[in-house]
Symmetry: D2
Subunit: 386 residues, 4 copies
Amino acid sequence: MSRFRAAVVGTGFIGPVHVEGLRRANVEVAAIIGSSEEKSRQAAERLGIDPRHGSLESVLADESIDAVHLTTPNRHHFAQASAALRAGKHVLCEKPLAMNSAESAELVRLAAACGRAAGVAYNIRFYPLCHESASRVRNDSLGRVLHVTGGYVQDWLLRDTDFNWRVITADGGELRAVADIGTHWLDLVQFVSGHRITAVCADLQTVHPRRRRPQGGVETFSGNAAPPRETEAVEIATEDAGCVMLRFDNGARGCLWVSQTTAGRKNCLRFEIAGTAQTLAWNSEVPNTLWIGHRDQPNEVLIRDPALIDPAAAAISNYPGGHNEGFPDTFKQLFRTFYGSIAAGDFATRPRFPTFADGHHEILLCEAILHSHREQRWIDVPSSTA
Amino acid sequence: MSRFRAAVVGTGFIGPVHVEGLRRANVEVAAIIGSSEEKSRQAAERLGIDPRHGSLESVLADESIDAVHLTTPNRHHFAQASAALRAGKHVLCEKPLAMNSAESAELVRLAAACGRAAGVAYNIRFYPLCHESASRVRNDSLGRVLHVTGGYVQDWLLRDTDFNWRVITADGGELRAVADIGTHWLDLVQFVSGHRITAVCADLQTVHPRRRRPQGGVETFSGNAAPPRETEAVEIATEDAGCVMLRFDNGARGCLWVSQTTAGRKNCLRFEIAGTAQTLAWNSEVPNTLWIGHRDQPNEVLIRDPALIDPAAAAISNYPGGHNEGFPDTFKQLFRTFYGSIAAGDFATRPRFPTFADGHHEILLCEAILHSHREQRWIDVPSSTA
Amino acid sequence: MSRFRAAVVGTGFIGPVHVEGLRRANVEVAAIIGSSEEKSRQAAERLGIDPRHGSLESVLADESIDAVHLTTPNRHHFAQASAALRAGKHVLCEKPLAMNSAESAELVRLAAACGRAAGVAYNIRFYPLCHESASRVRNDSLGRVLHVTGGYVQDWLLRDTDFNWRVITADGGELRAVADIGTHWLDLVQFVSGHRITAVCADLQTVHPRRRRPQGGVETFSGNAAPPRETEAVEIATEDAGCVMLRFDNGARGCLWVSQTTAGRKNCLRFEIAGTAQTLAWNSEVPNTLWIGHRDQPNEVLIRDPALIDPAAAAISNYPGGHNEGFPDTFKQLFRTFYGSIAAGDFATRPRFPTFADGHHEILLCEAILHSHREQRWIDVPSSTA
Amino acid sequence: MSRFRAAVVGTGFIGPVHVEGLRRANVEVAAIIGSSEEKSRQAAERLGIDPRHGSLESVLADESIDAVHLTTPNRHHFAQASAALRAGKHVLCEKPLAMNSAESAELVRLAAACGRAAGVAYNIRFYPLCHESASRVRNDSLGRVLHVTGGYVQDWLLRDTDFNWRVITADGGELRAVADIGTHWLDLVQFVSGHRITAVCADLQTVHPRRRRPQGGVETFSGNAAPPRETEAVEIATEDAGCVMLRFDNGARGCLWVSQTTAGRKNCLRFEIAGTAQTLAWNSEVPNTLWIGHRDQPNEVLIRDPALIDPAAAAISNYPGGHNEGFPDTFKQLFRTFYGSIAAGDFATRPRFPTFADGHHEILLCEAILHSHREQRWIDVPSSTA
């Protein structure tokens, strides 16, 4: 088949991750777009990409480009996704899909109207053992889902001197830890369990109500302390951590803990999904093993191995057992799935990648969490199909 | 020194655990008392104990006996502890201390009035690495406590055919999973963090609103399915699982997940206590290692080793590094501490064992949790010193 | 039944371990004997034991004492065990049984002649999951044994300032790391696999050919650096580490690595026994889990749980799943087994505890290892029944 | 810079791994060559590569191609590498470099004569934590290297019905488990420790002296049992498992265990390198953590994190801490290093990738191991610079 051609918009941490994933998925990276023509050119040179396009407008006017990947700050997603869909491009957008549910609902409608593939980069689903977990629920190995618990914890914002655009409400939105990382967990456990969250009760915590912004800005995951610089105090309204109690559409209960201020946890998503027949536990920092708990026989630790997992999971696993696949592989597999759907040309049946509808549901969920926190009570999550 | 002499009341799972722990702590087990003279005699013979005493009354009348250990069903604790204190005995009572806070408050008063040592068997504190964790908070290695999360999960009540007196409200109390195991976690994290829980928001779940009781009864932790027997349906009002969001007196937040219906988790208490300088994580199923998380240096995994831990922790650790100590050792260490306090003769200063005041605070906490669940809102925990 | 009465000879690290294990096994500790009457009295007072006996002679003359436990330095084992057997006592001796195979062969003969129970304290067999492993070989779950590998590593002799009587040939014997810890591993894997080692090829390493002895002596496992003291240089001929390649009587191959100079490993015995159907891996620092490897299904991690293990293993496991048992429990279980055999009164059938014959075989094996190292070639291990 | 152009020769398991790694390293894959023109065309189509070249000859005649990657069966390496070097191409060859040391010595000479970059794909070095380990030895964190132990075990050849060209001496060489996987371990520990192995004593084991070959052949790592097919018995002379005792040029000792018949171990390389100051342990199945053992402080578990590791390791690590990198990433990093050296244009200084000299040393080592096994004695390893 002829290769698809994609443009990546955004040159921060995650843009180059998309570039690499696209190359591995055998999709041609036709352009990389930064926040200016100059930044686009620099990124193109650094990453070995054709520098002819320097702006999204230029990309959208190029009929040879099939798809646009949006890895820009959250507040640009709505306008950029809308423009790309209207230009007839397929769109794969980083999460969150938009700044609020009015925007995300509009994007769902627009994607349907344009008849384009419209995905959100919930890449964590594409760890093969997450697909395996979903298969174990679908084929009833797990039994009825009873409990869904876990968390997503990091430490890169532990200190009040840790700074990033995401901590500022105007740039990242009113929620931060929940929206940045909690949303990955919420998407994942609903994907795995096959059940929607219908009500939430949240309590959020801002560890540092004031942070010190270095003059000049800081990259995401820039790691260890850079040399000291001049800083200015900034009031912070977004949460560093929080708990969300959960109810699912089948009566299951659970809870999520998120934190970006937990020393020593670098990027640690954990879930434990307990059913009437078995329990599944997984940790993103050791993603090639899945713990399977049993009552009346020894527990199991399944090593990711295409020969030992469900066909749906094996389909997104390219290396033999014991040969670790990691975070970059999830993007490759998401993209293989996304472009595979496009090649199949069927957008009517439910696609195997996370769609704009999923992204919209996540925003409704985040809004309910914020609402719950503010009112300190349980809030129902509106149905995303309403 | 002359050896202390103790009587153990209760012959179920935990009574013999006390017997063994007392012997290791070099306390003479002078009597074991069952629910009848006959059961007392049988237990005495089975465990190699002097059979002369067959009832609590007989024990209380024996002036050579210094202390009474209560390992009976919860509903007997109040009457038995009261009688023992009044008879001038030191009392070590299994948790929960009583059936409600009126009873437990009365026991606190009575213990003070009688001038006897009065402890509650929160044995988990006595894993040396739990003491080590507490020391790391006290000596400010951890920094300010920010988050306290974790859970206590088991699987022995997974099936609706799993039955035990604890599931019945009249025998075990209105709370079950929270009171049986959650209370261990709640006591432990307050001991380690040095901070009291001041408010709770709970959501409890009864997985099996009806269980099938085998005619004849079932032992705690009796394990795998016994041969099928005649059963009768029983309505269950106590919770199998639940989530409790937490606020601490220093502003820290957290949450607890408890479940007795999580396949594959046999007896798994986990905490993760995050501070401004480091995080401590511990798992009761691997109790000889403590995970210490760091932001700017490699994380640590501390093997329990008297040479590497704080003196307060080394004082309750008798075996060299790499020589595992386990669950039975916690009773030995609790008893060494309890009788060490008695030998020191000083009940005025805060003792190093969990006291009736701690047991009373746990009951207030459980009542607040039940209240919160019923009203589906945050509830303040009354101060136990009120 | 009436309780057995035992005397413990030796007051170092392991003597009190025996005292505690005997009490848990419901055997009366009738005497503790040190290297002098005075040391005996001090130990008796410290451990709450009747001080009437101050010497082995006194113990042997006491007809009410059934058994003697020898926890003295290796060079005393032969004389003390011989005397105790001749006095009609049952004997449980710490390993190694004697200083050479002439002595150990004589002890085997003497035990048979005296008709007494004669055991060697290979306590590690008595971790329940080691019994479980043996059962899995016996019942053919493992298939034919192919490979037996692993090691036993510690760090307490890492520095040239670390000193103990065991490093001196005259006190501990010509082998040290192999005889002290390697012999535990060699006994264990033969017990588990059910196959005898028939030939060895060894290469031993003395990391510190000269150590500095503190004036005054050092306890085993005394841990972290004590305050600096005057030292004197001592030439060391015993090995700190070494490798032994192995051949088993069924054609299986394997290897053992021992070291007392591996930083961070406190007391870490690991085995991996691979069969045609499954592999078993176990680590003494996490003794409550057994890894079971499979080719065509997920691997298993079995938590020690009386409900999930073979009856032979459950018989030496007293606590429910998830309630860790540790190093001290192995002594309790060894003693329960030893005295259970005595109570059964049958020494003709093969007992379930490690016997003097096993201890003798271990010494033949050590002699073959030393011989192999000196000649740098494979050496056959003599049959211990010859 | 203009992108390098590479051709990959070989279309089995590892060829496509090179293709993907080259794309991630921003090297253009200009051709893929199979064992026939037809197979080349099919692979080119499947992998999205220009199909114009169907043979190695055609590739070598194309001046626009800079480098050739050889992923063909071992017996072709010598002829293909020679031809490519003579055609002026840089060569990156899969291990083992050749069938014997005469060939590999010739290739070392030829590479030097041709002035081309000549590397061997010891990719495991390129796990960042292996580079970190090497840095810790170089900067003396580890102290003097004392012991080097570990193994490489798999289970894909467990059954006598498991078949692959590698088991046949004529196709894979006289050694198999040692040459296929042991050589990775041997290269790795010499890279990490900075010390050469100078003598070996080996004992090899053929578990299945006869295997059943399916008519039609089997892919490497094809996993679970395919439907039963007609088989024919084949005599096997290569080893399934074995032990090699080791001596290093600084006096350190160690041992290696290799096996392809260990149920449950999919692809498990483990090393434990003990020094006078600390110990490093690593497991390829959990490659993002490095265990660092200490005597007098808690052990450490370092998560791969560019912010926490040595610059030499961070240079080959592209994702933040907690975002797992895996097996495919090692090829990307090896290729980035290989082509980075070519871009730097300096082949005189010691390159940072494994060279033909390293590949030659490995073959000398394998020959010494085979020699030792046959004579059942220690054999010195010839210096590869002789």
